[in-house]
Subunit: 183 residues, 4 copies
């Protein structure tokens, strides 16, 4: 079961629910943010990280990217795509870059400073990213691993903006998310 | 029937064949290039335009974008995607931007000078773009129309590079495409 | 003289002030938004347009793009760049794409749905864009014209998000901008 | 002294010459490519790496990015930019993302598969990247370090395309570069 905030669009609900179904919890993504940012912000808490992940997930562009990418993963898993794209996505072929293209559109929403974070965790594959990539389970996560990394990178950018004073809330505000809408 | 060049990868063959099945001929895209570039290059021929379209289509990134986008269009047409993305893609919802994201990855391959051409024909919808957008036939072309516009924009950039001397061939070389590979 | 809101960072103040010095008022950009969006939203007012432009200008990424681009324009105007980039920027050479690259980073902040608006007004050059492009005055606006078009495209995306309910304010809220910060 | 190939445009000559003046040799960038790719391609030689770097540097978009970025670095070093952008670039402020934006336009030329390589070496800072980042010398390399990383990432993508058969040459062809032009 996942607890969903009250004031949430159907689209966001669907995106969160699909992340959950595919084995990704907000906590997993928050851990990636912590992994990326703990060295820069001394008092960083997991609550800060989770709050920023939640806010990134409120963006419609991000929800669209999640739903489209997971859809392709699921169809490849069920062998329902046409050749040759079925095989390319199923095997997560290394010359295929549409997963990175969609992921980068998530990063872009919080500006270019997240590009390097995205590339870094994609290579390092900490936490949930390692799990999504082990290819042992018969699951296909060609798009999802890049999308999760991108959400973490975007949340890291958002966090940096917060600490720079660009966005007021963070930390305490995390209790009051419900009624807020995206900017 | 489409005549395919001899020296062509399976991936390219598949991309060209899907374009054809979905109602887009190379000639249609060449016409978009002519529409975009005739005012800048006086002696521009349709042969030049077609040649540059062919070269853009030799890029693996472009082939991946075509195959992924058309796959999503076809599945939406067959009502095989999960809600809510099924409905979003089926209706070509105007807040959905993954089609533009994938299209822009095509434009990028020949540099940023193609961005404006892409945006321009997407609004003007000359030739084949109008046809793909009439939504009357029950066909879904949410991705394809953006992809076709992006190929035309990329071919326009490539053309401009050719005329600037960055690429030697053009015109006469169009007879010798077969043996060439992408750069 | 330009009237500046009270609660505004030094960076934003500087960006707004440079726009003004280079001949661009917020009203000019608001008119571009109106030009782009009036056909889609019947009750659209110039106040809505201006409000969304103001909100786009609160983004740090946008401020950085403005300041960097105008800096290069000004230095080219003063003949202070080194060859060959001096000449390339001075003449607004059509193969030079760094201006588009920087402009697109502005559009990206509000998602991919603004790409086509950006390309469209860049070709059509309504209002202030025509003025910035006439090259008669000895002024160099190689970067500025793309940046202004990109701000208008981003504001158009933001407007569409507002009307889709992603952002609560618009119209009435335009009186209360001062205390708000970017999201 | 740097040895320049015979058949080379003025623009390329200028870009290579500026890289050299700012302390970056082609060999340094080739080493970054080797660092990124040696684990994937067993027989990879430094000659392969260098060849791919050379080919990336033949792209006009890349030359423009190099010349524009270095120009801003040099002017910041000479304290010739206007406040506040002078200070932002001089200190390589971490919220400033125009350097990443320009760098990413280099990566894009060889497709999205280079995004992660770019992010990875930017965080790891092997070889020349560490040197460019030590900020001890009074030199400003805010743009250059990102540009060098991006060239290495693009050359890595090109290398992967070569090994996948997309581009014929590599290795032996490195002797024959002179007469070739960009694709």
């Amino acid at each position: 079961m996942i607890l969903l905030p009250k004031d949430i669009s159907e689209l966001e609900k669907s995106a969160l629910s699909w992340l959950h179904k595919r084995g990704v919890e907000l906590e997993d993504i928050a851990e990636l943010v912590f992994y990326l940012q703990a060295k820069y912000f001394k008092d960083l808490t997991m609550e800060d990280c989770r709050f920023n992940v939640e806010r990134v997930l409120k963006k419609r562009e991000v929800q669209h990217a999640i739903l489209t990418g997971i859809q392709l993963d699921v169809l490849a898993e069920q062998n329902k795509l046409a050749a040759p794209i079925q095989d390319i996505i199923y095997r997560d072929e290394n010359m295929y870059g549409i997963d990175e293209v969609i992921a980068l559109s998530i990063v872009n929403v919080y500006g270019s400073i997240g590009f390097t974070s995205y590339g870094y965790i994609d290579k390092q594959k900490p936490g949930i990213l390692k799990k999504l990539n082990d290819h042992e389970s018969g699951s296909v996560h060609t798009f999802l691993d890049d999308i999760v990394g991108a959400i973490a990178a975007a949340a890291s950018s958002r966090l940096a903006h917060s600490f720079a004073g660009d966005i007021p809330e963070v930390t305490i505000k995390s209790k009051e998310t419900d009624g807020e809408k995206e900017e």
